[in-house]
Structure formats: C-alpha cells, structure tokens
Amino acid sequence: MRRGSWFAALATLAAVVALAFLVVPVIAVFANVGPWRLLDALDEESAREALWLSLRTTLLALAIVIGVGTPAAYLLASREFRGRALVLTAIELPLVMPPAVAGIALLAAFGPRGIFGPAISGAGIELVFQTAGVVVALVFVSAPFFLRQAIASFAAIDGRLLEAARTLGAGPFRAFATVALPSARTGLASGLALAWGRALGEFGATLLFAGSLQGVTQTAPLAIFADFSRPAGFVSALALSAVLILVSAALLLGVKLLGGERALEGAPRP
C-alpha cells in the first residue's frame, strides 16, 4: 500500500461524515412530508399569513437597508477619519450579537420603557406587537451583512476611476451613480442576498421586541415555532421549513452566481 494512504482514507471518511451530517436534516424535511401534504399544510391560513408577512417585512427592511446603507457605506469606504476602525467595528457588532441580546437591546432603546420609548410613542408610533417592530428588528440584524460587504466593495474601487469622472465634469453624485455603483454592483448584490437570508431566518430579536402575533408580527420562523409548540403541528412546521429552505437555497445560489460572474470579469471578452 502507498505510504500515507491511511490518511487519505481517513480524510475521505471525514468528508463523507461531514457532508452527510449537514445534508441529511435538509433532505429529512422533504422526505418526511410528501409534496401534496406539504402543499396542503401551506394552504392553512396561519402559514400563508406568516409567509406573506415574512415577505413584506423582509422586503421593507431590505429597502431601508439599501436606501440608507448604500450611501453610508460609500461614505465610510471613501473617507479617512479618526476612529474609522471603531465605527466599522461598531457596525459589525450585531453580526456576532446573540439574537436574544439584540431583542433586549432594541427593547432597551426603542421599547415602551426604553430610552427613546417616550419620544417614539409621543410621535404616535407603536413598535412593540406591531409589524413596524418586526421591520426594526430585521433592519437591526440584517443591515451589518449588507454594510460590511458594501463598504468592502466600495473600498475596492480604483479611486482614479472616480477622479476621472470628476475631471470629465461629473459631480459627486453622478460619479457615485455612474461609476461607483456599477463597479460595486456584484458586491452590493451579494451583500443584499446575505442580508435577506439573515432577515428571513430572524427569530430571537423579533420574538423579544415585537412578539409573535399571528398576522401582525408572526413571521415564518416564529410560525414554525408556534406550529411546533402545538399538538400535531409538526407537519405544518415541516412545510414552512421546506419553503424557507428553498428560498435560502435560492439566495445562496444567487450569491454563488454573482461571485462567479465577478471571478470571470478579469477574462478578456471575445
């Protein structure tokens, strides 16, 4: 036998075990429920409401993240200032923060008894047990995924391209819109896909900050937990899980494809 082949065998075994462990639960979701029972379960009012709420709240949260995050990331990427590293770290903190902690933190800031609670209710805005509260929680947990990627993408742009645009008569906004945005496009899109994935799976912060009211704050992950908690709800939980797996897989595939396009960009075109 070749020397070292025992190691190759061991590594192959490790790879097989790892793959099986990661893939089996995903397959199990689909194997446990036939496609017809799955569709039946989705026909339930609460499931449809939860999916629809998830779609609306994540899209709204993403719109806010893009609208505020893109110019903010551009500024942070292109300016040098004291404490920049600190600011970037602060932005990334929610990435590693346990979701339950995020929920408590949001309550402490914007909850009824939080620092800004009186000001917010004074302005006639209600967040807790409201769909708006879900959006606040989603923005808080997903924005760092987008910001991080966006800052990196903007920082990677060759500064001379922006300077060339300026000398050709473009003001700062036109240079941003016509040169910086297209250059950072793939990075922004993959950041967006990651943020969306995170927002779709959001559970803890939403539960603590906005609660789990069916049709109002009960997003798909919360509905899965609610289904799971009631007798005979396992099938419904599986059905919703299957849908979320499909959506997550689509997002992951999107990120991979965008990454692939970027990798191909250096090659000359025919």
Binding site: R160, E163, A164, R166, T167, L168, A170, T178, R269
Partner: protein, 357 residues
C-alpha cells in the same frame, strides 16, 4: 484665444515638500521631467482639483480655480481639465463610446455620434462598442485621449501617457500625441520621466527633483547647459529634426534642418526626429577625415561650455542645437570655448529615428 494657466503650489509630500510655480501659455506644452516620486503627478492633481495643497494658487486667465488665502477651491468637475491618467483609468463597465461620451455635454441623442466622431480622429471608431478590457495598450491610450478631448478641456494634463506602452507602440503613439498637442489651443502639461519624450512633445520643459523645479527652458537649452549633475544626467538626449530618405539595403539618410547629413540604422522616411545621447557624441577639430567607424560628422560652432564637476557639457550649433559631454580635462585641452569651430561625430548605430510625419 484661450487663457494661460498659472499654478503655484506648496504642500508636504512623503519625505519632502512640493514647492512649484509655473505658467503655461495657451497652445503651449510644458513637460515636467523627473524621476518617479519627484512630485510631478501631485502637481497635475493640484491643477486638476483632485488634491488640495497646503497653500497655493491655480488660475486659468482671470478665473481663479484655487486660492488658499481666499479659501477658493473650485471642485474638479467645474475646472474641466482633461486628465489622461497613467494607466488610463477607463471605466471598465462602459463600452468605449460611453467612456468617450462621458464628458460630452450634448443632448442624449447626439452623444454617441459625438463620441464616434472623436474616436474616428484617433482611428479607433471600430472599437466603439468594445469594452476597455478587450483593448490593447495602444488602443486604450487612444481612447483615453479621445475621452479627455471629447469633454473639450480647458487645460490638458497628461500623466506619463506613453509609459504603459511597449516600445513599438510608443513610437506611433508619440507621433500621434505630437499632432494632437500641435492642434490643441489650450495649455498642456505633460508629465514624463523621459527627456527624449519631453524634447519631442514639448516646447518647454521643467526638470523636477524632490518637489522643486531645478531647471526650466527649451529642451536644447537645458540639455546644453545643465545647471547640476542631476540635470545633466536627466537631460540625456539630443533631438534634431530632419527629412529622412530610405533606400533598400542602405542606411537611412537624414538631411538635417539648417544643414548637415546623418545616417542611421533605423528605417524611416519623411520628417523625423534624430535622437542621440550626449555621451555618444565625440568632438573633433574641423576638417579632418579620419578613417574610423564613425559615420556621422556634422560641422558646427561651440555655443556654450558648462562645467559640472569633472565633466563639461558642450552646446554646439550645427546650426540646430546639439549637446555633447566631454571630460573637463579634454574641454581644456581642446581649447573649447564659444565660437570655436568643431566637428561633432557619432555612430550611425547610436542614432535613433522617430518618425514625425
């Protein structure tokens, strides 16, 4: 008649400070020549409005672009300097024509036509729909020039426009650039580390070292009378003009403007620039007919003798200005002084021809 450009800047750079003042007349090309990192590009950036100096003033005629004392700093987009970047900085996501149209101030429907018209001038209109990534170095350089000129710049700034090209492409690009600069009615500044390039493209040049202009003047003047060993080392090419005729199998014959003939191993025909390094040129007493391998002999008169340390730059009028370098000892031994008749001699193989047609 467009106005002249005036620029003064003082600002700290890495390790030294930039302290430069210059004026460029409309239609004139000033070359900033010096080693990498001397501050040449920084000066271009100050003029273009991409870098704010600690103190300084930039004005185009009556229009002040920058005056640190009066807190005036016009943004780059309102100065409209055509800046050709060293690596061209073409927008990679846009087609060639969109690159060129970027600075064109015309209604939407006419922008493509305007861009293609400018591309035709540089013989690259066939590339209008290509992406910059698919272009060769020479093509990128043309597109970058077309893009800068299409925006109708009030000042043209060229940052090492030929440095990214291979030697063969550079010759053609040099000729093209010469004709562009000749037709341009606005002040132009060319940054280069090649004295030869500067001598061919600019009427006036300034040698820049560690942030300061150490000598300025016409290329022939600076080459013949370098003020320091540094300038002498940098002002390292004589450029003469003439008309070349090529015969198959023979050396190329060049009749110099103002008199004299030289031969070169390079092939060319029509108007050319003859380039030779000062240290390749020997000085002999006039009238001799030595039987050595040196083929080119031009009679002239010593115009200047500049001693720098143990060597001497000798300016010779043939009558085009030519400069050569000898040791201070030989200069004394030969009795070289202004007015003395001499013969300048160099090999045909040390004679480079650059077509100017």
């Amino acid at each position: 008649m467009s106005p002249a450009l005036e620029a003064h800047a003082s600002t700290p750079l890495r390790g030294f400070s930039l302290e430069v003042g210059l004026t460029v007349r409309p239609g004139e090309t000033l070359a900033l020549v010096g080693p990498s990192g001397a501050g040449k590009t920084s000066l271009l950036r100050v003029v273009a409005g991409l870098m704010a100096p600690r103190s300084g003033r930039v004005a185009l005629g009556e229009e002040t672009w920058l005056d640190t004392e009066r807190s005036i700093d016009l943004p780059a987009e309102r100065r409209r300097c055509g800046l050709v970047f060293q690596e061209y900085a073409l927008f990679p996501r846009m087609s060639v024509w969109r690159n060129v149209a970027y600075g064109v101030d015309r209604p939407h429907g006419q922008r493509r036509a305007a861009a293609v018209e400018m591309l035709e001038r540089f013989d690259v209109s066939g590339l209008a729909d290509s992406r910059p990534v698919s272009l060769s170095g020479g093509e990128r350089q043309r597109v970058a020039l077309a893009r800068a000129l299409a925006a109708q710049p009030r000042v043209l700034l060229l940052d090492e426009p030929l440095a990214a090209l291979d030697a063969a492409t550079r010759r053609g690009a040099l000729r093209e650039l010469r004709s562009v600069l000749g037709e341009l009615g606005v002040p132009a500044i060319l940054v280069t580390h090649s004295f030869e390039e500067a001598a061919l493209l600019a009427e006036r040049l300034a040698i820049v070292d560690r942030g300061a202009i150490v000598q300025a003047g016409s290329p022939a003047e600076v080459s013949a009378r370098p003020r320091s060993p540094f300038v002498a080392d940098f002002a390292g090419a004589v450029v003469l003009r003439g008309e070349a005729t090529s015969e198959p199998g023979e050396l190329t014959l060049v009749r110099l403007e103002g008199g004299g003939e030289v031969r070169s191993v390079d092939s060319a025909s029509g108007p050319v620039a003859v380039s030779v390094f000062p240290w390749e040129i020997l000085l002999e007493p006039p009238g001799g007919s030595p039987r050595d391998s040196v083929l080119n002999r031009v009679d002239g008169e010593v115009a200047s003798v500049t001693t720098i340390g143990n060597r001497a730059r000798i300016g010779v009028s043939v009558p085009q200005p030519l400069s050569t370098e000898v040791t201070a000892h030989s200069a004394a031994a030969m009795g070289l002084r202004p007015g003395k008749r001499v013969t300048a001699a160099w090999k045909a193989s040390a004679t480079r021809l650059i077509p100017l047609g």
